[in-house]
């Protein structure tokens, strides 16, 4: 919410100025625009980091069904923490990759959907070739921010 207020105020001050903006004065806006971009990116990354932490924590949790009547607690072992990313994922399909993103990294999936098709294809190829998910997600954000 605070980020949106910053954007609105910058825009209003620009319009209400009423002056013709030449290249020299436009350069003065660059730091503000960069700061705005960094703030937005920082917020997006922070949200993504939280989701990553949640996801990592969820892997530690056993699936538990408590049946009070039977006095039992049925527990399934938690998924193995971590995982091998070496050797590529030759069997991975683009649908499975996108499904994985949507299920486990919802915020990143939202960014991924905003990318043009060519970028999405490149990112999937990186994933299929064995790039760690952290690297894949960083690439998605970099592409979104034109970095």
């Amino acid at each position: 919410m605070q980020q949106r207020v910053v954007v609105w105020r910058l825009r209003r001050s620009f319009i209400s100025n009423g002056e013709t903006v030449d290249v020299r004065s436009a350069a003065g806006w660059l730091p503000a625009l960069l700061l705005m971009g960094c703030t937005l990116a920082g917020g997006a990354l922070a949200a993504d980091d939280y989701l990553s932490e949640l996801d990592a924590e969820a892997k530690k949790v056993e699936a538990r069904s408590i049946d009070g009547e039977a006095g039992t607690s049925t527990v399934e072992a938690p998924a193995e923490i971590g995982g091998s990313t070496g050797g590529g994922r030759s069997g991975a399909s683009r649908e499975r990759f996108e499904s994985l993103l949507r299920q486990k990294y919802l915020g990143t999936f939202g960014f991924y959907k905003k990318l043009p098709e060519r970028s999405r294809q490149e990112i999937f190829i990186d994933y299929r070739d064995g790039a760690p998910m952290a690297e894949v997600r960083k690439k998605i954000i970099d592409r979104l921010l034109q970095r």
Binding site: E53, L54, E57, V61, E62, G68, G71
Partner: protein
């Protein structure tokens, strides 16, 4: 005359005995050692995914909670102990109030019990009667399709264009506009109880703040702060979604 009075007294006593035995039928059935949910409430039933689930406490007095929710500490941030109020106007409830909610508003459809955790958590087990609405959906902006869908599921209605005079009347307070926003009518919106993993989980506070940001009335939201951690600590029934 005395005989009539005596017979009436006996009949009254028998009627009272019958009523009291009816009222305590559950206690009689479950026995004196049964550990109830609360006094005079041994268990309750809720619907979950089309099944009737009996919510009760584990009866084994030697049962000890083990596993993830028995831990006392997690990394902070991000898993820090949360304030008791996610927002000043939102009420907080405990297990007793949640049982009451399950037997009244949840049952008659005027209430919704929301598991605000991400699906990865929900799939590990949830409180019976809960639906999964991740906080990531409920934190979206007012124009996002996911939040629009969520609000409609929760009983809110989009208003469409409001006429000039209708708007004036509302602004002057001549109509009951307590549950009206510019875009949404929350007058028929359901009462919500929102929860997540417990006092050190930020997911449901985020969901609650997201709902408030899009205009959901604060008096229709309650925060079950104990969450899954306290629910399991009490040995209460959980279900793993299908």
């Amino acid at each position: 005359m005395v005989t009539i009075i005596k017979r009436a007294a006996v009949a009254a006593w028998m009627a009272m005995a019958a009523c009291s035995s009816q009222l305590s039928a559950d206690e009689l059935q479950v026995g004196g050692d049964f550990i109830p949910l609360v006094k005079d409430k041994p268990y309750l039933h809720v619907l979950h995914e089309g099944r009737s689930i009996k919510v009760q406490r584990v009866q084994d007095p030697d049962y000890e909670l083990k596993g993830y929710f028995a831990k006392t500490a997690r990394k902070c941030p991000p898993f820090c102990i949360q304030p008791i109020l996610p927002s000043p106007d939102v009420g907080v409830i405990g297990e007793v109030e949640l049982f009451e909610f399950m037997e009244t508003e949840l049952r008659d459809g005027t209430g919704v019990l929301i598991d605000a955790r991400t699906p990865a958590w929900y799939q590990k087990g949830t409180i019976p009667g809960s639906i999964n609405m991740p906080f990531t959906h409920l934190s979206k902006s007012i124009d996002d399709p996911e939040i629009i869908e969520a609000l409609e599921i929760l009983g809110a209605r989009e208003r469409g264009e409001v006429g000039f005079f209708d708007q004036l009347v509302e602004d002057w307070g001549w109509t009951d506009n307590k549950y009206l926003t510019e875009k949404w009518d929350f007058s028929q919106a359901k009462n919500l109880v929102v929860w997540c993993n417990g006092p050190a989980c930020g997911q449901s506070p985020r969901a609650i703040r997201g709902l408030l940001n899009v205009g959901y009335p604060a008096d229709k939201i309650k925060y079950y702060r104990g969450g899954m951690q306290m629910w399991q600590l009490w040995g209460l029934t959980t279900v793993v979604p299908r």
